[in-house]
Subunit: 139 residues, 2 copies
């Protein structure tokens, strides 16, 4: 597990080596040890941290929010409740996105179902007319 180069870490975590360097540059990963040649050397901790990032991203957290989660894990006063609050805040965001997407879906479905989808000219297309504000075509 010890002594990975950046390429091995990248492969073992499913990201590109450039991404690892980007994470380091941006403060999402701590600067690793170096070989005499200057090559970065990573241990298991780095692997865990990258996996943490990937899992959190899959839950919808941005990199900056993930940095906050890391800060929490470094804070001896932080507790479960503070992490849970972030999870619930993210959940609220996701629910809001879901709400908006469902509205889009409904409108699009209604428009699409109503549209005959044949060779009607666009002046008679209910979708186009809707987009123009339902009051007729000008262009």
């Amino acid at each position: 597990m010890a002594g990975m180069t950046i390429g091995k870490l990248a492969k073992s975590t499913g990201v590109g080596a450039e991404t690892i360097r980007y994470y380091e540059r941006s403060g999402f990963l701590p600067p690793p040890d170096r070989m005499p040649s200057g090559y970065r050397v990573y241990g298991g901790d780095a692997q865990k941290r990258v996996r943490f990032i990937k899992e959190a991203q899959a839950l919808g957290f941005t990199l900056n929010e993930i940095k906050e989660l890391f800060s929490l894990t470094d804070d001896p006063d932080a507790d479960c409740a503070s992490v849970n609050a972030r999870a619930r805040a993210k959940l609220a965001e996701i629910n809001e996105k879901l709400r908006k997407l469902k509205l889009m879906k409904k409108s699009l479905e209604r428009l699409s179902d109503y549209c005959p989808a044949d060779e009607h000219p666009l002046t008679e297309c209910s979708i186009i007319n809707y987009l123009y504000g339902k009051s007729g075509l000008s262009a």
Copy 2:
């Protein structure tokens, strides 16, 4: 309705004047007439076009897709079916986003419900442990 300056058009459509200029620069709005001073002058067509953009954005279309819709309305051979195809393609995209967000939501809800959300130290936090890949809890 005739003879609006950019500020009036912006106000009447709910966007900023800079946004109007940006739309023009990027080819989403045609270049308007000018007053002798160089001020842009807009009529009702511009208003309709901006509203079209806003409505289409609310349905999830990107500006480039909206430009395509405008091209269709300028194409005498375009018919209802070609517009409907775009609406259905957008619908498919939205459904895919909905699917992913619902997965996130489910995972987050499970993690958050399982977390005691009290003063437990983070080493015992099920959310953090899940993110580190240590937990028996599956998302």
